[in-house]
């Protein structure tokens, strides 16, 4: 494993950041500090963190409704992300986007999409720009097992393969779309099997293993940068929490057995990563715990920051509609 310690520790840090962020969101959302849907990423941290660790700041990502893990994994600002969930002026989108639409164009986060699979063509387009513009950035898009059944995925994968675009299609297969098992929505055994329909490589990766995700993505990035075209990566993972905050109606037991959930919780990506770092003598348990504590403090600060950030002023309602202003009639 030729990954230097800094990167391995950064991966741990980002997984903890996401974990604390989500735990805090569950807490303050249920306390009614803000409303609207929010989709926890807990249990899936290794997927986005491993993948983004293989990217540069100048590379692009786009995501979906399960939207907090992706930007934080790419190095997004915890304060601005939290402030956005609170609908405040200092939020990433000035409060206009909310949980499902975090974005930070300054570091290549092209935004999360509430409409499933809808950001797949967009990310493919960023890769097209790299190709025809002769730039060497790549583009990576996160989508779910459920989303893989949208026509947008088919069209984008075909286009990217035809034109050898530097894009990575990263399917987060957490095995359910709300209450629907991927076995009832994907007609083939694995989403990654579909890569053969576009003759691009498709790999199935343990989504609880950040390093495995990092290595698979690194290879896909290499292909992309060297002009060999797109890749499809399926990170097999599991959502530890419910589909969305505020969907209490869907009781867990009804579509996932408590037993299955427990089995998967045993494969906590943060524990797996930490154990490995310690076992291989790369880091001490103390170092790892320090990361856990620091990131928790960071998230607490972010909540304070968000709470103290003002709501946007009513005068801002019509701002950000147009880049080229229109004459006021």
């Amino acid at each position: 494993m030729d990954i230097n310690k800094d990167r391995l520790m950064l991966m741990l840090r980002r997984m903890w950041t996401i974990r604390h962020f989500e735990l805090k969101v569950i807490e303050v959302h249920s306390a009614g500090e803000f409303t609207g849907a929010a989709h926890p990423y807990i249990g899936e941290e290794a997927v986005a963190v491993g993948a983004c660790a293989a990217l540069n700041d100048t590379d692009y990502i786009a995501g979906n409704h399960r939207s907090h893990g992706h930007p934080l994994a790419k190095g997004g600002d915890v304060k601005r992300a939290m402030a956005e969930l609170y609908g405040r002026k200092d939020g990433y989108c000035k409060g206009k986007g909310g949980s499902m639409h975090l974005a930070d164009f300054s570091i290549g986060i092209l935004g999360e999409s509430g409409i499933v699979a809808s950001s797949v063509p967009v990310a493919t387009g960023a890769a097209l720009a790299a190709k025809i513009g002769g730039k060497d950035f790549v583009s990576l898009v996160f989508f779910g097992d459920g989303a893989s059944n949208q026509g947008a995925c088919h069209e984008s994968m075909n286009l990217a393969a035809l034109w050898k675009l530097p894009v990575i299609f990263l399917c987060e297969n957490n095995q359910f779309a709300v209450t629907t098992s991927y076995k009832d929505s994907v007609a083939v055994e694995h989403v990654s099997d579909r890569a053969s329909a576009y003759n691009m490589p498709g790999v199935l990766v343990d989504g609880q293993d950040a390093i495995a995700m990092y290595e698979a993505t690194t290879e896909a990035v290499r292909r992309a940068r060297s002009g060999e075209g797109p890749s499809l990566i399926e990170g097999l993972t599991y959502r530890f929490e419910e589909h969305s905050l505020g969907l209490g109606r869907v009781r867990r037991g009804e579509y996932r057995t408590g037993d299955e959930i427990e089995q998967w919780r045993k494969r906590d990506p943060i524990v797996i990563h930490t154990d490995r770092l310690v076992a291989q003598g790369i880091a001490t348990l103390e170092e790892c715990e320090a990361v856990r504590d620091e990131t928790m403090a960071e998230v607490d600060e972010a909540v304070e920051f968000a709470r103290n950030s003002p709501f946007p002023d009513e005068s801002e309602l019509f701002e950000d509609m147009w880049a080229t202003p229109i004459p006021q009639a």
Partner: protein, 327 residues
Amino acid sequence: MPQTIFVEAINQAIIEEMRRDEAVFIMGEDIRRAVYGATANLHTEFGDNRVLDTPLSENGFFGAAIGASLVGMRPIVETLTSFMWVAMDQLISQAAKMRYMFGGQATLPVVFRATMFYGGGSAAHHSDRSYPMFMNMPGLKIIVPSSPHDMKGLLKTAVRDNDPCIIFEDGTLMGARGEVPDNSELPGGELLVPFGKANVVRQGADCTVVAIAGAVGHAVAAADELASEGISVEIIDPRTLVPLDKRTILESVEKTGRLVVVDPAHRVCSAASEIASIVAEEGFWSLQAPVVKVASEQVHIPYTPALEKLVYPNKDKVVAGIRKTLE
């Protein structure tokens, strides 16, 4: 009469129609577990064959519903307005156009139940109120219930109608209570609300307010407020936008001489624009004051409650609109 919650009225209508007619079935995402509530208990009663959980492939399964309707089935599809964009191919090129294009050979008794979630921090991707766009396209019947009573009665009528219907279910009403008669109390033994027949929610003399779906409540609140000042407001709920009951609206304006249209959709090319233009064309000589449109601002739906609340029609905007016609 028993008080029924809007979402329960939907559920009652579906159950009654599925019991009545074997050809009726329902499909949608996570409906067996009734994620959005309206499909509660259906799977238990009607089983796998008539209650279908679909993959996330709206264009595919909307089209499947359309195809099934062509050959004798009567599908009900559950979705959200915001998920119809990915399925416009099937809604427009097939559902809306097929019958005419084939010289009347195609009959498409398919119902799309599209919930409009707005007003609760759902942001731009999940807050569409898109019925005006579908009104522009011939071939679709557009239904906009404003109460549990109409929701149940219009949905049952839609299931029996032989044309493609889209019912825009106003999310702001999902928890609303209202009187829905027991079937036993009804002459025909069931509740059927006809298409193309507006409901005069309240009679009045000074100003006509045409209000759509969730906006009817704002109109009533505004009328109550103004009543104390002796201003008498007539409130009309079209109930269906295609077909639209022009006559009731024109007759009311003839009486009041004033028109305010309240529409939760974006104001440009809205249902309010259409109704205002009809009156400007066919009821012009009745008008004693400018028509007023109270619709959503022409901006996307912001997530933050600080801004979202500014976007939609509300009681105060309706009051101001009515006053404007009385200046």
